[in-house]
């Protein structure tokens, strides 16, 4: 991190933090802080210090605007504020807040810029800063890309500190005691004689003063919460069935809707006969929507039954009807005309390969559904001058725009009541279900409509992870890997996803190359080229996005080359590694797994390393080849996130990421036939079940100099580590996911 960043970490000057290098672009405007949205609707005597803290006589409220889809970010955001504000859990409530520009994501530019996370050059930093400025101007409020903690870490601690110091200033004025002699603890300012002035009692006075603008953040040695095991604030509610997700919303006068859209996604609705549905019990209305038909009833089940009773005539799919056609389109895109970008070209790959290729292989990854357990849903009430949306979503301000487009209101008239989400994995970055709910509600103005997808509708319209393939070759010499040439072809997930939101993103799509180009190895000769496949079936970001595919391609090829060279898989990766923090990750996972120790018969061990979202992550997997098939016995993970906010949640997220990745690598895909997804429910794309779950040992390292998120990085190394372990145990090299097409799992 550059000099300005280091200064900004120590001293916070309100509104001027994230502009390192911002001289290149609209400095004044970028530096202008957005108006605090919490000022609207405050009662007299209620104090707000910034967009994250409100204190009234009755209540302390912390705003946690990043969406919580299970990663625990509501808790983590509150903890960052509470750390500096000196309030304890139980002393405050949280609120997701309203969509607002003030909640723009500072960290989004970090990983969106086409530079390796390990690149700290002036050009890389300047580009990140420029992109940060653009994102601020657009007011991009988004939860995704494992950015919630990088975005929040300084910002929310600063928000807590500003509120604390302002409250001390008020207490000083009231008591006559100089600020320097005041302390704070447990929601109160403490005077030298031990008298406590509760923050809530200071709210009325605090509302009259301007918040302080300069604060000093605490040293890590002073932290009470950060880095310590925490009890997540949502845990009791989630263990008692008392937490309301979007699907549990209950509004006075609400009706229930179910929908069926053309399962040939994007295809037309040619016609339908709803006469059978119309006579069914509880059915109130049949409503045509874009690409399908909805039934409104007095009960979710009745609505689903009725919509399934409609006789539909669907149009053709705007993509190949059969899966083979998708693969052909991908293979055909590996040509010079469709080169999206050559991301790396070091040494002389052509010359190195001319001496003889050790390996030449092709790899494939399938479409995969997100399928979080809470089916997509949204409740919408359309009134003439206002629209209210109840759902859980990751991009609140874009949701406002999409709903406004449907109903004809202005974006400012769209109110979102955001909710805890029953999983997402990228699914709740999409808008289609909310648009459909708005379409139905717009035809029933004044009546709140809850749209719930059936699981089958959810699978049919999942917008799965992109498919892709890679061609790789390489050379080895004297027991070392000397050259690697990797070509990756896939449709642009960014193009597909942003296209649905009406946005055109110019330039190469970094997600085609992610996980493959941004490795910090120092191969003598390395070339990585990305090819853009014209859009096929619609696709969307799936936990770890491009790296979920690219990591499998790159690391599988590297493993094959290491084997050809006759080197040790871990030692050769360590030898090639050029980045100190990443090398430490590899060494750590080796030590944790006792790499190199003898294994019993039919057992094998595989290692993989992928850097994604700035987090170098290494995994070792141990498998046994049994008579019933492969068992995954143990997994070790080492990942460097700079600072571990909560070691308990960290472990849970890493274990979960590994299980998510392994389950899909084993048995999950979406394939198309007759233009429709062939998988309709969980029995077709099962993921991992508890009895298949390995022991998973986790270590979070803190050698990196920036705080990173851990939601996605555990995913990419898991599939290649598993395939590499299966090779070690069986001698069978599998180059295609899901693996169960080639080998059985017990």
């Amino acid at each position: 991190m550059g000099k300005v960043g280091k200064i900004a970490r120590r001293t916070f000057l309100f509104g001027a933090v994230a502009v390192a290098g911002g001289v290149a672009f609209g400095v004044y405007k970028v530096r202008t802080p957005y108006e605090n949205p919490l000022k609207d609707g405050l009662a007299e005597g209620d104090a707000t210090f910034n967009p994250w803290v409100v204190i009234t006589e009755k209540q302390i409220t912390l705003i946690t605007p990043h969406g919580d889809k299970g990663q625990g970010v509501a808790h983590a955001q509150a903890a960052l504020i509470a750390e500096e504000l000196d309030v304890e859990f139980g002393q405050f409530q949280i609120d997701f807040g309203k969509p607002d520009k003030a909640y723009w994501n500072r960290a989004l530019a970090g990983d969106g810029a086409p530079f390796m996370a390990t690149d700290e050059s002036f050009t890389a930093e300047a580009t990140r800063s420029f992109m940060g400025g653009m994102i601020k101007l657009l007011g991009m409020q988004i939860t995704g890309g494992s950015t919630a903690m990088p975005d929040s870490f300084d910002k929310l601690r600063e928000a807590g500190a500003v509120a604390r110091e302002t409250l001390k200033l008020v207490a000083s004025k009231m008591s006559g005691v100089p600020v320097a002699q005041l302390k704070t603890a447990k929601g109160a300012v403490v005077l030298p004689d031990g008298i406590e002035l509760a923050y809530r009692a200071l709210a009325k006075e605090a509302a009259q003063v301007e918040p302080v603008t300069e604060v000093k953040l605490r040293e890590p040695s002073e932290w009470r919460m950060i880095g310590k095991p925490m009890q997540r604030l949502d845990m009791v509610a989630k263990s008692t069935g008392t937490l309301d997700y979007g699907i549990d919303v209950d509004v006075e006068g609400m009706v229930h809707a179910a929908v069926m859209c053309n399962p040939r996604q994007g295809g037309a609705l040619n016609g339908y006969d709803a006469s059978a549905a119309e006579g069914m019990r509880g059915v109130q209305k049949v409503v045509e929507v874009n690409g399908g038909v909805a039934v409104v009833a007095d009960n979710t089940w009745r609505a689903i039954q009725a919509v399934q009773a409609i006789d539909f005539d669907w149009g053709e799919a705007p993509y190949p009807a059969e899966q083979d056609g998708h693969w052909q389109a991908i293979e055909a895109s590996l040509n010079d005309d469709q080169l999206d970008k050559e991301w790396r070209n070091e040494g002389d790959v052509t010359a190195a390969l001319a001496g003889g290729k050790a390996i030449e292989a092709a790899y494939r990854v399938p479409y995969v559904a997100h399928a979080p357990l809470e089916p997509l849903n949204a409740t919408v009430l359309v009134e003439d001058d206002k629209v209210t949306v109840w759902t859980g979503h990751q991009i609140p301000r874009m949701l406002q725009d999409q709903v406004a487009r449907v109903t004809g209101h202005s974006s400012e008239q769209i109110d979102l009541v955001n909710h805890f989400m029953g999983g997402s994995f990228g699914h709740r970055l999409e808008f289609k279900h909310v648009e459909l709910a708005a379409e139905i509600a717009n035809q029933m103005r004044g009546t709140p409509v809850k749209l719930t997808y059936s699981r089958e509708e959810d699978f049919a319209h999942d917008f799965p992870r992109h498919i892709g393939m890679a061609r790789g070759s390489g050379a080895v010499k004297d027991g070392k890997v000397t050259a690697m040439d990797l070509q990756v072809a896939m449709p642009s997930v960014v193009g597909s996803q942003m296209g649905r939101a009406g946005m055109n993103v110019p330039g190469p799509d970094m997600q085609i190359a992610a996980g493959a180009w941004n490795n910090p190895y120092g191969l003598e000769n390395f070339r990585m080229r990305a090819y853009r496949v014209p859009e096929l079936a619609p696709v969307s970001s799936w936990r770890s996005v491009g790296a979920s595919a690219g990591g499998f391609f790159f690391d599988s090829l590297l493993d094959e080359l290491i084997h050809e060279a006759g080197a040790d898989p871990l030692e050769e990766r360590i030898r090639l590694m050029q980045h100190d923090v990443s090398r430490k990750v590899l060494e750590t996972v080796g030590e944790m797994s006792n790499w190199g120790s003898p294994l019993g018969p039919n057992k094998g061990r595989g290692v993989a390393f992928v850097e994604s979202f700035g987090v170098p992550t290494a995994e070792v997997i141990e498998v046994t080849n049994t008579a019933e098939g492969i068992t995954i016995d143990k997994v070790w993970v080492a990942a460097d996130v700079g600072t571990v906010i909560d070691p308990v949640n960290f472990e849970n997220l890493v274990q979960g990421g590994v299980i998510f990745a392994l389950g899909h690598a084993m048995n999950s895909e979406i394939t198309y036939s007759d233009g429709m997804a062939q998988q309709a429910n969980y029995w077709d794309a099962e993921g991992m079940r508890l009895k298949q779950c390995p022991e998973i040992m986790v270590r979070g390292l803190e050698n990196g100099d920036q705080v990173r998120g851990i939601g996605e990085p555990p995913v990419p190394p898991a599939a290649p580590a598993l395939a590499n372990a299966i090779f070690a145990a069986t001698g069978q090299r599998i180059r295609e996911l899901p693996l169960y097409h080639h080998i059985d799992f017990a």
């Binding site: 845990m235 509610a237 989630k238 263990s239 357990l373 699981r455 274990q655 993921g687 079940r689 009895k691």
Partner: protein, 152 residues
């Protein structure tokens, strides 16, 4: 027809084939019971009938022949059941959406087998899908809950 749910008696007027899940959620407003798949493939809708775990999405309401207990009747935030206590202690949940069903499945297992073996836990809990991957914590929490229930 009459249903006893979480100790309370309810009169419901619905189709015989309406799954218990939707009677609980949409007719009685008991939202702790979750819809995940509708085909008994995920277990999110698990409730007890006379103490035994069933998938309420595949139980026609007319087949209900005993008292129904949901996650909300098992325990409450201020009065947790031993299984719920263990779940909080181990910080099991991520998104939490499957956990109502996981907890009901675990409570049913422990009422049948006081100290289940690892294999028995694996077998009993493998019908409940967790997309977030909290399985290691579920295993640990079931064992802790078993120990807690031995103490009382």
């Amino acid at each position: 027809m009459q249903l006893i749910v979480d100790g309370k008696s309810h009169e419901v007027d619905v189709e015989d084939d309406m799954p218990l899940l939707w009677v609980l959620r949409d007719e009685l407003g008991i939202k702790g019971v979750k819809y995940g798949c509708g085909v008994a493939a995920c277990g999110a809708c698990t409730v007890h009938i006379d103490g035994v775990a069933v998938r309420s999405c595949q139980t026609p309401v007319s087949d209900v022949d005993g008292a129904v207990t949901t996650i909300e009747g098992l325990g409450q935030p201020q009065a947790l059941h031993a299984v719920q206590e263990a779940w909080v202690e181990h910080q099991v949940a991520q998104c939490g959406y499957c956990q109502s069903g996981q907890i009901m499945q675990a409570a049913s297992l422990l009422s049948e087998i006081k100290m289940p073996s690892d294999a028995e836990i694996d077998e009993a809990m493998s019908g409940n899908l967790c997309r977030c991957g909290t399985y290691p914590r579920i295993r640990a929490a079931v064992k802790t809950a078993a120990a807690k229930m031995q103490e009382v």
